[in-house]
């Protein structure tokens, strides 16, 4: 029996907002079962290698592009909403299937604008490295407001794409989003989306850093690598779109 009368009278709070923590984030986990920075970076390397292998398949067999995109989308939804614990098996499959999709779509862009693929790859990794330097050095500091701002912007972009997708069934679409629309307005929108996608990388770095600090379970290394891959793939696609608009001028 506690000597604190308030505790005796009302008991301990059951409000999940006060008691909720991350499952398995206890410090009682053995060291070798905790998430580390090394592990997350190595797993990102594995996912990137799988993505490149998939891209080689998609480049040679473009017919696989759309089935792979759907499979990748389903795997991403399963990983995010159903089973983070199984990210070690879903994330590699996601990287492979998205790689096949990226290989096909890159071939399409490459046929329109020669040399665009290597430019997009170089810029994507260039942004990744430069933002990592900015994050590690403390030049960019992600805060709760920063996360809200990026979340709201991503929500807006998602709605824009969704409306454009639905409109495409009726024979129209938002022309500003078309990869061949070379107006300054269209280029500006694409550049803004590239900026948002780039800043999302900072949130992924912070997620991995904090996860390693808190000693989350080992499977979160795969989840951290997976979230980084999702952002990288989005960034690559947006850079491809931006470059094609610029080259259309």
């Amino acid at each position: 029996m506690s000597r604190h009368s308030a505790l005796n009278r009302f008991g301990r709070s059951a409000n999940p907002a006060f008691t909720r923590g991350f499952e398995g984030s206890s410090e009682t986990l053995p060291l070798n079962e905790r998430m580390t920075l090394d592990g997350a970076v190595n797993k990102t390397g594995i996912l990137l290698a799988l993505c490149f292998s998939g891209a080689a398949i998609g480049w040679n067999i473009p017919a696989l592009m759309f089935p792979a995109m759907i499979v990748g989308f389903i795997l991403a939804m399963v990983t995010i909403f159903r089973s983070k614990e199984k990210a070690s098996s879903t994330a590699p499959l996601y990287a492979l299937s998205q790689g096949i999709f990226l290989g096909g779509i890159t071939l399409m862009y490459e046929n329109m604008f020669e040399g665009i693929a290597i430019q997009a790859i170089g810029l994507t990794f260039g942004i990744l490295a430069s933002l990592l330097v900015c994050y590690k050095s403390g030049l960019i500091k992600p805060t709760e407001n920063f996360r809200l701002m990026i979340g709201a912007a991503i929500g807006g972009i998602f709605i824009l794409y969704l409306v454009s997708f639905i409109m495409s069934f009726f024979g129209s679409g938002i022309t500003l989003l078309s990869p061949t629309n070379s107006s300054w307005m269209s280029i500006g929108i694409s550049a803004a989306i590239v900026c948002i996608a780039s800043l999302s990388l900072v949130l992924d770095f912070d997620f991995i850093e904090e996860g390693a600090e808190q000693g989350l379970p080992k499977y979160m290394e795969w989840y951290g690598a997976f979230s980084l891959m999702v952002t990288l793939i989005w960034l690559y696609l947006e850079i491809l779109r931006l470059l094609s608009k610029i080259r259309s001028r």
Binding site: S25, G115, L123
Partner: protein, 69 residues
């Protein structure tokens, strides 16, 4: 020339990512009051930890004037 430049950029950037990614972020980044707390942890900044350590844990006892005398 274009291809070589962007290929080198990609390889160099990947090299930076694979090496720098494994190093812990600077104190400037990790010891902040306004960090995102995703996992509901009780982690705090250096200042918060120092303040927390000033709290003396134990059982409160009622003190009345007669007991003091």
């Amino acid at each position: 020339m274009n291809t070589i430049f962007f290929s080198l950029l990609a390889i160099f950037s990947l090299f930076i990512f694979m090496n720098l990614g494994k190093i812990k972020a600077s104190k400037k980044q990790t010891d902040r009051d306004n960090r995102i707390n995703r996992f509901g942890s009780k982690r705090g900044t250096v200042n918060q930890k120092q303040n927390r350590s000033k709290i003396i844990e134990g059982e409160a006892e009622e003190i009345n004037d007669e007991a003091e005398k």
